[in-house]
Symmetry: C3
Subunit: 354 residues, 3 copies
């Protein structure tokens, strides 16, 4: 059985296959309309995320399947103290595939250890959100016609923005992709992500200015400066307006630059930009649904065959110190870890150093 | 593309077609069972309304379609600061038609300005709730056999009750329809609604007594005195029992009078009345589902054809002063207004005078 | 029309038929895939219960039907003061069968009095939860191959645990079934349940020790000590670990003993037990879905035929004193009572003595 927990679980070849499937779905939707007849997707959203949930549900329905699930953890058995793994094991008796959103990092990994059906990580705290990255990749592919030879600007909250980290990890695997990292110092890309860029020999520039490298960009990926991430709300108020994209700022951009945003936006892209043909963020949500269709097809196909994917060797023991890790709250979980390619020991669930 | 935002968007002729479709659905349900196969309705309920939501969902399912959505705004992206228009634009990539409930007046209009799919207003604050009026109209048509030559009693909260205002606006367009306005002075029909009656030359009587004109009524439309509408709860407690319909009060009513209520009721109709054959309020909910089926068919049909409907000329500018208007909270919305038939300037979103 | 409010509504013969249907569903699922095409189940969950709700929804979908409903009472019309009976009557216009969960005892009975479609009680406070018992019965039948000649250990909260009471009432009707009642004194089986055992001539032993009778048991039914049931939280903390099942405790158990749990568990079964082949509690959730399929088939079949089932003679009057009874909160409900086989008068809704 195969799960999708982290974008790194998918090889470049697999992502290529999936974007091909996605483009075929767009061309020939009727071919896929009955492909999941009799199958059920469970959307287990321990914290709300309307957009992601509706995208998964629409994807499954467009494949001819059905959906069960919950919108928010306050209404789930979790509030009675049930573990994520028990929930996955039970719901695996009701559904053929599970999309799970959870506030704890590593929650999807914990579920995948015991689930009788494939788990899709629909976001686990600040850790991973691989289907957003799949949406981003398909959008770049469809808008630019390629995934290599690109200069990608990443703007906003590069510190906490998991979609940014995930996109970097996915795109560095393509040839000749360079990055421009645009953020206030307080929200700069963390050192371990800079290490990832360095290790892969990716070119990048760091700037506080949204304007400075605008003419160079093939892709501009805007992100929301999330209130939830700030302990100090005055700091949030000071920064939130710093990186607002307007028509004026776009004057010096390339005519075919692609503007992306994982949404929801608050005010970081002015509504006047929406009618610019370069604004691809609403098409990006459409592409998200299509890639989720391709993913569901892939994982359900894999159910009874031995699958590839990246596998790691795990060791028992060592308590993870990340306060947001699922190992902190899940009753009876066995601590596990692995050694990364730099010889550092990391938590199997949330990938923190231990 | 065609939306339904206000009952006034539909002409008398269109309502006639829809009641005909509705009556055909009741006679030949199997004819309609697969008509929306492959289509999705999104129910975006930024505030809960179980009855209305389930009615829409049942309607879409009975047409062979599927449903996605959310039950309450607390679980939606709106709580992360997303605008109604962004939500509509994104969900329009997932669904073929949207039913939206929102606490702000004009929210459905704002959504319709940008949505790629038809918007049905399932209630926008105290402003409009056109599908309730469609349910009322079909019920009168089916119970009385006609929509003209009727004396309609409206009882309870005539000040805040949007269903009452909407029913008046719909029914004054039929021949020889008169009204009896039954309410305490504090909850009397507002002057602008009396103006609507006067302008249309409709006869009406105003009374504080539920008994006085009972023998004259062909239809008695009861409404809930809603706690939510009162700033002063002692005032609510004093008034809420004033207009309770009982079997005793019904003794002098016509044998074929039709008792309607938009539901939910609290205690304004005594449960003993439920078994009276004149009590049509549960049949009214059934008719609501049927009219929503007819509406979905109409709007999906219209998607690719040029449609009629009432269109207005809009002007930019002028800030709306209605505190409950969507223009007060929606980021980046352009203020718009129109000139009504009396030459008064009104907000395009909530129809308030400006 | 036929409802399922209490496990006692089903005769031993009927339960036998349903387990046969269930076993046929497992063998030939495709036979049942379209059996409810065009039918809708409404899941009205006035309080959340994810597991039960998803099980019902999966059951209906696997029969080819569709689902509408709500996850939690806070989003329903109930919060506007609507009665349970009005909700049932309205939703009965939208759906073909209703599964209802409600915090008040007797709520499902109240709904069944007026509903135009069958009502399934999916839990009414501490009163009844018959579909859990159906899951338990099918699991015992499938795991042990029989429903008679069994020694059943019941462990944990025997005072408030309605699933335990319900399982006793169901199993005493089979031949040669004896019980071991394992609990701290504070959470012992109530006297009226001991009376039920005595009246039926069932053998039982009472013990505070989980170990003592372990070698005798054919079935061990573990239950959660529910935090919600305690007024005094220190008492909860003291007791919650007393009855934790571990691999060590299982050493002296029969090799084919069946371990059951209604779930969710917190820590009363150590996760290490999960891989023991005797651990049947996850299979039990699967069986729950299957029995709900069998039940939906049965009740929809019964819709237009005169059905058997246990019927009682009801008398009007007498106010029920149970503070959790639906008669305490439902507006306009007529008090009703019946005389039980011992000549005692009980509330028709919650079965309390009056």
């Amino acid at each position: 059985m195969r799960h999708l927990l982290d974008i790194a679980d998918l090889s470049v070849g697999e992502i290529g296959e999936m974007t091909e499937t996605a483009e075929d779905i767009i061309k020939n939707p009727e071919k896929y309309m009955g492909i999941c007849k009799g199958k059920k997707l469970a959307t287990l959203f321990f914290e709300p995320s309307t957009r992601t949930r509706l995208s998964f549900e629409a994807a499954m329905i467009d494949l001819g399947g059905q959906v069960i699930g919950f919108e928010s953890g306050t209404n789930s058995s979790a509030s009675k103290g049930e573990s994520v793994r028990d929930t996955a094991r039970v719901v695996g008796n009701y559904a053929d595939i599970i999309a799970m959103r959870h506030p704890s990092e590593g929650a999807a990994f914990a579920a995948a250890e015991v689930s009788p059906v494939p788990i899709i990580n629909a976001g686990d705290g600040g850790h991973c959100h691989p289907t957003q990255t799949l949406a981003d990749i398909l959008t770049i592919k469809r808008e630019a016609g390629r995934l290599d030879n690109l200069t990608i600007g990443l703007c906003g909250d590069l510190k906490y923005g998991r979609t940014v980290h995930s996109l970097i990890e996915a795109m560095i695997r393509y040839k000749n992709v360079s990055f421009v990292l645009i953020s206030p110092e307080e929200l700069a890309l963390p050192d371990y992500m800079l290490d990832v860029l360095d290790e892969n020999g990716a070119e990048y520039k760091i700037t506080e200015s949204l304007d400075r490298f605008m003419p160079n960009l093939d892709v501009l990926y805007m992100t929301r400066i999330q209130k939830e991430r700030f302990d100090d709300l005055t700091e949030y108020e000071r920064l939130k307006d710093s990186y607002v994209l307007t028509n004026e700022k776009l004057i010096c951009a390339k005519k075919n630059m692609i503007i992306l945003h994982p949404l929801p936006r608050v005010n970081e892209i002015s509504p006047e930009v929406d009618s610019d043909p370069r604004a691809a963020y609403f098409r990006q949500t459409y592409n998200g649904k299509i890639m989720r269709m391709a993913l569901i097809i892939k994982l359900l196909d894999c159910k009874n065959v031995k699958c590839g994917g990246v596998s790691k060797k795990y060791y028992l023991g060592y308590k993870c110190k990340n306060k947001k890790c699922i190992t902190q709250t899940e009753y009876g979980l066995t601590e596990k870890n692995y050694i990364d390619k730099n010889g550092l020991r990391r938590c199997a669930y949330c990938d923190s150093l231990i």
